[in-house]
Symmetry: C2
Subunit: 377 residues, 2 copies
């Protein structure tokens, strides 16, 4: 069996309490989960960290900018865009001063701009390293959208750049702050239904515009696995609290005209150290694949939809529903990162966490390409 070296890292969270201890926002949103250690907020609680958004596409426009308005510890301070017309719209809408508006060539100049504390990189996957490194070099903390990048090496460069600049790096894993997902982590880790034995997880949708960057491997790094399959992969990791030791995969491109150089359907299987098997799917060809279920010794539980911005809910084998009220996940994610920065605490959605997913996804692609089950040692 081919062995790919995957440095064994501390799992991102080991227990429910560890999972949420840095997330005061989430804790406050989860009264049903019981008592928490309520980490004191930053002494400088009045200070709102200035965020600059890099890349003003749909996600920034429809999710992140509105979410920023609801944060407690953040504010939309600046933008980086290659489109002057977009800059004008955002400037007017969010009252952004000219001095805080950059393009990709000038963004390094934000080193001199104290308004901007954090750069949120929302550009195509293969540009995350470039923009993260520019931001870190300019002395800014960085929140990068997922997937972190398109290769392990580029993830490493991002981590190194932030370490060198003594700045924090986080990856936009919003579901680490979502209460229904947190509840499933609790059910798994506290063994409410006994040991989890198998997990099924899938996330896909029917991809629209054939000209979008996500269908261009050079920018996306791959197909639905990179875009949404990563959520299913993440789920298997945060449910188990383990790192996979074995991976096999099968990929398919059922519409090679539209999906020229990426898969449009992919399945992969993971074996975890405890023997838990996870069976995952992702697709750009069909809507409705949006779930996970954990099968444990004494029952099962899961979510469906599991990964949406809102409407997440689930079921348990004892008939109980999993229906925590939705929160704005981006608001929670950004406030948590701001708290980590203000309190000088590590983020649970670190660059290392992002790099680990990229490593596994590259192994999934390698397994699909070579037809070999890969050992992740």
């Amino acid at each position: 069996m081919t062995v790919i070296k995957l440095e064994v890292m501390q799992p991102p969270f080991q227990t429910r309490r560890e999972f949420i201890k840095n997330s005061t926002i989430t804790a406050a949103s989860l009264p049903l989960l019981g008592a928490f250690s309520t980490t004191a907020f930053a002494a400088d609680a009045d200070r709102k960290l200035g965020f600059a958004l890099v890349g003003l596409g749909s996600l920034s426009t429809n999710q992140i900018a509105p979410a920023l308005q609801k944060t407690k510890y953040c504010r939309l301070a600046g933008i980086v865009t290659g489109h002057p017309a977009k800059a004008e719209v955002w400037k007017a809408k969010y009252n952004i001063p000219d001095k805080n508006i950059y393009n990709y060539d000038t963004m390094g100049q934000m080193a001199d701009n104290p308004d901007i504390d954090v750069v949120y990189v929302v550009t195509p996957n293969a540009l995350h390293a470039e923009h993260t490194i520019k931001a870190a070099t300019a002395g800014k903390h960085v929140l990068s959208e997922k997937p972190m990048e398109v290769s392990v090496e580029k993830c490493r460069q991002m981590i190194d750049a932030c370490q060198k600049a003594n700045r924090q790096l986080a990856v936009g894993y919003r579901l680490h702050f979502e209460p229904n997902n947190l509840e499933c982590v609790r059910l798994a880790r506290e063994k409410v239904f006994g040991d989890v034995k198998m997990i099924q997880a899938g996330f896909g949708f029917r991809s629209g515009d054939p000209k979008q960057w996500r269908l261009d491997r050079a920018l996306s790094g791959g197909g639905p696995l990179m875009d949404v399959g990563i959520y299913a992969l993440q789920a298997t990791r945060y449910l188990t609290g383990e790192e996979p030791v074995q991976v096999s995969a099968v990929a398919s491109t059922t519409d090679p005209v539209k999906f020229k150089d990426i898969e449009d359907c992919i399945t992969w299987q993971l074996k975890f150290p405890s023997g838990i098997l996870a069976n995952c799917s992702s697709t750009y060809r069909s809507n409705g694949l949006n779930h996970y279920t954990a099968f444990a010794e004494n029952g099962w539980f899961g979510l469906g939809p599991a990964y949406d911005y809102s409407g997440i809910n689930g079921r348990r084998s004892d008939g109980k529903a999993i229906t925590f009220a939705p929160i704005d996940q981006f608001t929670a994610e950004m406030d948590d990162f701001a708290q980590c920065i203000l309190n000088n605490q590590p983020t649970k959605v670190s660059g290392e966490e992002g790099r680990r997913d990229i490593k596994i996804m590259m192994a999934i692609y390698e397994a699909a390409k070579t037809g070999k089950t890969l050992s992740l040692a």
Copy 2:
């Protein structure tokens, strides 16, 4: 990629009408599906074929014998058992004459017994060939429980023995007669939601008695894959109407004390010629895994529970439920086989169909063992 030769066979059914044309019972049970060709019943409709059950375990006792009482074209004529005490109970309960009661050594003598037309083999998996060959050699038609056997070679011997004796051979794939499953076949084949692109399917349960033959590889041929995973495999084949061309698998034994020489969890992935990917799971460690969902271009549909004796129902992405009234699947299966025999028509659940599953399951085990994706050519 390692290539395993899988003779390409005519898919078991190509269209809804083909799927059910030999199944008058099912057709009659499916008024909502619309108009059917109502194959004329046998001219000799008064004749009920005499069935002998080989192996009087739980399945024969609780499902098959009661189902036989409800058949139109069959009757419980005889039994084969190694337990004289069981023979006494059955003899009294079902009024079986002494001359129709055999043990495994004497069952060849049924060649002289015109009461027995069909032998239904309900013994442990690794004994199906022995009992099938004895029955065929005695001039009887044979219905074998699934999985057909524990090796492709033994399946071949069963097929050859029945062909040589000019007797029909069927495998107990009861879901080929179950209306909710038939409806899903129709939804897939008639492309009601467009082309199916991905399928998720799983069947498992928490295995009880550690002394049962199913946990003994010599008798079972394997773990949950052989016992119940076969239903998920079957589902992917009858939904697609295609034969898989590629298989990868990962297996795990999380309780090696109880499950000494078999897997207790397994996942496998199939690629079909059209590019459809199927992602399947089976386990002996958890209840609740009992479903399939087909993800198509314009929606999805599936069943859960999908494989039970009753209570099967499902959902569609358009909000409609799939809720055909339950039938006794064993009654339908046996009456269908009787009709095939009486009308000299081929059964849709043939020995070849059974052999194909065994071939694929052996490839699944090989893929799991070697860590190689196997090509089924």
